[in-house]
């Protein structure tokens, strides 16, 4: 319907807006309860949601980006300290955790599919699997942190540099002994290590909390009736947290195994 005609039509009831009149006549809509009236179409609503979620994730990129950048500069500055400190970390645990996190992300991706095809049972179970692997990741992270604590690698007054000053006395044969001043700089590595893996773990815990809520709503049937957005947007968050770890793992655990002689 032409808007001009609608406006000049005196029999048009006042409460029917021009927009609404054109809207209803020109194209048909299947109205669904989750479709908000200020969106033209369901696709538009869906896209607006994804767009907003991505804007949030971009701020997260900047947040973690600052931490990664600090790591880059300090590794460049105190390279000799970062090498033995980094090699103290266990590739076995780090690699296992990478696989666990990818598995968790895989189940989250399947959860989105389950919500799309409206299968409540698969949705609930994939969300449970996502959570279990998420908690397994946190558990292994706890084992690793405990290991650092036992070795007095928590930065602060209780920090012990003896393993880096005299590695042979601690049974570490492949590390070069560090002068005491450089050995103190290993604290910066562990400071960044705990800061980066800690902030990552905080994001995981927030995600695991949200998963409880989503699971409760999913078993109530909220997301298997065509309303996929909360599952879809949470999946974006969960995969983003995965991606952060995909960079943390090589940077913290892997890249210092063959130190440059300089």
């Amino acid at each position: 319907m032409d808007n001009v005609i609608a406006q000049s039509e005196p029999l048009m009831p006042r409460e029917t807006s021009v927009h609404e009149a054109g809207y209803d006549v020109e194209h048909e809509h299947a109205f669904v309860p989750q479709h908000r009236h200020h969106f033209e179409t369901e696709e538009q609503q869906r896209e607006a949601g994804s767009f907003g979620m991505w804007l949030f994730l971009l701020t997260e990129i900047m947040f973690f980006g600052g931490l990664f950048f600090a790591y880059l500069l300090y590794r460049n500055w105190y390279y000799d300290a970062f090498v033995p400190a980094s090699n103290f970390l266990s590739i076995k645990w780090g690699g296992t955790n990478t696989a666990i996190l990818i598995t968790s992300g895989f189940f989250m991706a399947l959860a989105v599919w389950a919500a799309e095809v409206r299968n409540k049972q698969i949705l609930v179970w994939t969300l449970v699997a996502t959570m279990l692997f998420g908690w397994a990741f946190i558990g292994i992270k706890g084992i690793e942190w405990h290991d650092e604590w036992v070795h007095h690698h928590i930065p602060g007054s209780g920090y012990d540099v003896s393993e880096f000053v005299n590695p042979k006395a601690h049974g570490i044969t492949d590390a070069k002994p560090l002068p005491p001043d450089m050995a103190q700089r290993t604290q910066i590595f562990f400071f960044l290590y705990f800061g980066m893996t800690g902030m990552h773990a905080v994001h995981m815990l927030i995600g695991l909390g949200l998963l409880f809520w989503l699971l409760w709503r999913a078993q109530r049937g909220d997301f298997t009736d065509g309303y996929v957005a909360p599952i879809e947007n949470f999946a974006l968050y969960w995969h983003f947290v995965d991606i952060v770890w995909l960079f943390l793992f090589p940077l913290l655990y892997l890249i210092n195994r063959h130190p440059l002689a300089h």
Partner: protein, 118 residues
Amino acid sequence: MSHEAAHEHHYHDPANVTNPEHAEHHIVTPLQYCYVYGTLLFFTILTILAADWDMGIFNPVVALAIACTKAVIVILFFMHVKYQSNLIKMTVGCGFFTFIILITMTLLDYISRAWGLW
């Protein structure tokens, strides 16, 4: 005449009204997720093996290249960016581009200072 009609038709593309963002709703199948999952695990093993191999200054380069490959795979398929509208693709691209600018500019400042020479 036919050219005009085609033009007319293009101008009044009904999708501009019914789907202004031209966003297609694509459902990724579980089988495709399995392929993505296998690829990510493969690259995880590859990056651990690569760390064992002494490549000099290229160890961090290779590790980061593998990490970037994995991240792109996650973004395209797990996060469905491959199937999203151009607006979403541009948004994601702009975000990473801005991040690279920030890193590059800060590094330029860092490497252009006479560290230790004053």
